[in-house]
Amino acid sequence: MSEPPGATIAAPETPPTDKPSKPLAAQRVTPLRRPGRWIATAVVLVLAAQFVHGLVTNPFYQWDRWGYWFLRPTILDGLVITLEVTAYSAVLGLLGGILLALARLSKSPVLRAVSWTYVWALRSIPLIVVLLFLYNFSALYRTLSVGVPFGPAFFSFDESKLATDMVIAVIGLSLNEAAYAAEVVRGGILSVDQGQHEAAAALGLPKGYQFRKIVFPQALRSIIPNYVNQLIGLIKSTSLVFYVSLLDLFGTAQSMGSTYPGDIVPLLLVVTAWYLILTSVVSVIQFYVERYYARGATRSLPPTPLQKLRAGLTDLRARIRREAAV
C-alpha cells in the first residue's frame, strides 16, 4: 500500500492542508489498551483453575465412589420418581394456573376474589407444610365423596387407599405450583395487546377460539421463560417429597448415605450432577420452544446454536482465506 485509494480520484479542489497525506495504514485508529481488563481476566482464570484442580485432586470428593453410584439402579429409580413427580406437577400446575388466571381476569368479583385468595394462601404457606398437611389429610377427612354439596353422596372413596405417597406428593406440588403459574399466565395474558382482543371480537371468532388460537399463543411468548424458571424451581422442590416418604433422587441418596456414611459426599455430588443435567435439558428444550413461539414476533428467527456454529466456521474460513491472500 503506497497510496491511499482516494488519491487516484481526481479531486475537484485541493484537500485541506492540515490533513496528513500519509498512507492510509498510518491513519488507522489504535484501540485503547485496557491493562485492567487483562489483569482481571488472568486473576479469574487462575482462581477457576485452582477450583477445578481442587475438585479433581482433593481425595475428600472420592470421585471413584461417585463413578460407582452415578448409574446405580437404586439412584436411577429415584431419578425416575423425580421425573414423574416433576412431570405430573408441571402439567397439573400449569392447567390449574391457567384456570386461576382466567378466574382472576374474569368479570365475576367472586371468581376474582377466590383466585386471589388461593394464590395469596398457597404462596404464603411453605411447600413442606402443604406436603405434611396432605400427608396427615386422611386423619382429618377419612372418606371423600362425590354428591350434592351438603346433601347425599353418590360415591365415596376410602382416603387411605386413594392417597398413595406419589398422589400426595403430586397434589402438594401441583397446588403450590398452580399458585405461581397463575401469576405467570396472568402476566402473559395481560401482555397481549388490547387490539388483538378487539380484532378477534370484531371478526366474530368464538370465545374459546379467541383464547386458544389468538390470545394464548401470543401470551406464551412471555409465559414460557417465566414458567421454565418455575419449572426449574419445581425440579428442585421435588426433593421435599422425601418428607412424605417418597424416595426420589435426593431421598434415595439420603437413605443410601445413612447406610454408607462414608459415601455421603460422593452421593451428594451424584445428586448435584443429575440436577445439573435435568436443568440443562430443560434449558435446551426452552430455547427451541421459545423459538417456535417467536414466529411472527420478530422479523427473522434467532439462529439455533448449530446454525451459529456453522456461520462462525464459514466466517473463520473466509477470514483465513483473506489473510492468506494478503
Partner: protein, 262 residues
C-alpha cells in the same frame, strides 16, 4: 389492481336509530340517527373526540349504546326486541352477527403469530362457514385482489404498514360482510403508503359494497363518498353529498373544521 367484488354478497342497508352512548357523565354520542342505503359509501368526518370512532364501534357492537339501536337489513345488532324493550343478546349471538360486519382498524390489529394467509383464513374456518382448504383458497384470492398474492406466507411484522392494512381489509372481506366499517384506515401509515390502501378502498366503493369510513383524508372523501357526515360533540351537525358538505358547508362548525384540515 383488479376490481374487488364481494363474492356475491348483497350490500346491506344500515340504520342507526337515536343512539346515545355515555361514559359516566361524558356524553360521547348524543342521539345519532343515520339511514344508509345498500351500496352507499358514507364518509364520517369530525374533530377528534367528536364521537365518530365510537359511532363506528357501536355499529358492530364493540361498544354498547345506552339508548337506541343499530340494525342491518332490518336485523337488530346486539339486542332483540322484547315487547317495548330492547334486551341484550348473548355473547355468542353477537359474535355470530359480527360476521356480517367487516371492521378495519386504524392500527391493523393483524394477528402477529399468523401468516397473512392464516390471518385472512382464520375467521371463516373458526366460525364454521368454510373448510380449511376452502378458506385458504378464498384467502389467497382475496390477498391477490389487494395486490399481495406474492406475500401470502409473510408474517405481519415482515410487511409494511400499507401491506398490513391491505391484509386487514382482505381479512374483513373473508367473511363476505354486507357492510364494511373503516376506522381511520390510513392514519397510522407513512404518507407514501396511504395511496395503496385508499386505492383498495376505492375499488370496494365502486364495486357497490356498503362502506362507512371514518377518515381525515378530505380529498379522498370528496372522490368516493356518496354522502359525507360531519359529527361534532356526539351529534350529526350536517350531512349530504360531498359537493354540499365539503364545498358549501351550511354550519359554522363545519366551516371551522374544514378550514383547519384542508
Amino acid at each position: 389492481m383488479s376490481t374487488i367484488d364481494t363474492l356475491g354478497t348483497a350490500p346491506a342497508a344500515l340504520e342507526i336509530h337515536d343512539v346515545h352512548k355515555w361514559y359516566g357523565a361524558h356524553r360521547v354520542l348524543d342521539g345519532v340517527d343515520l339511514t344508509i342505503r345498500p351500496g352507499e359509501v358514507t364518509v364520517v368526518i369530525g374533530p377528534s373526540g367528536s364521537g365518530k370512532s365510537t359511532l363506528l364501534r357501536v355499529i358492530n357492537h364493540l361498544e354498547k349504546p345506552e339508548i337506541g339501536y343499530v340494525s342491518i337489513n332490518d336485523e337488530l345488532i346486539g339486542v332483540k326486541r322484547q315487547g317495548e324493550r330492547l334486551k341484550e343478546l348473548s355473547e355468542r349471538a353477537i359474535l355470530a352477527q359480527r360476521g356480517r360486519i367487516g371492521f378495519v382498524f386504524q392500527n391493523f390489529n393483524l394477528f402477529p403469530h399468523l401468516t397473512a394467509l392464516d390471518n385472512v383464513a382464520a375467521a371463516p374456518v373458526a366460525t364454521g362457514k368454510l373448510t380449511k382448504p376452502e378458506a385458504q383458497a378464498l384467502a389467497k384470492e382475496l390477498l391477490e385482489r389487494v395486490g399481495l398474492g406474492e406475500r401470502v406466507g409473510a408474517y405481519p411484522r415482515q410487511l409494511s404498514g400499507g401491506q398490513q392494512q391491505r391484509v386487514a381489509i382482505a381479512r374483513a372481506l373473508a367473511l363476505r360482510p354486507g357492510v364494511i366499517l373503516f376506522d381511520e384506515p390510513t392514519s397510522a401509515l407513512d404518507p407514501e403508503l396511504v395511496g395503496e390502501v385508499l386505492s383498495v378502498i376505492k375499488d370496494l366503493a365502486t364495486s357497490g359494497t356498503t362502506l362507512v369510513i371514518v377518515t381525515h383524508e378530505i380529498g379522498f372523501a370528496r372522490e368516493i363518498a356518496d354522502r359525507v357526515v360531519f359529527i361534532d360533540g356526539g351529534r350529526i351537525v350536517e350531512q349530504g353529498p360531498p359537493s354540499e358538505v365539503l364545498d358549501k358547508p351550511q354550519h359554522e362548525r363545519t366551516r371551522d373544521f374544514l378550514s383547519k384540515v384542508l
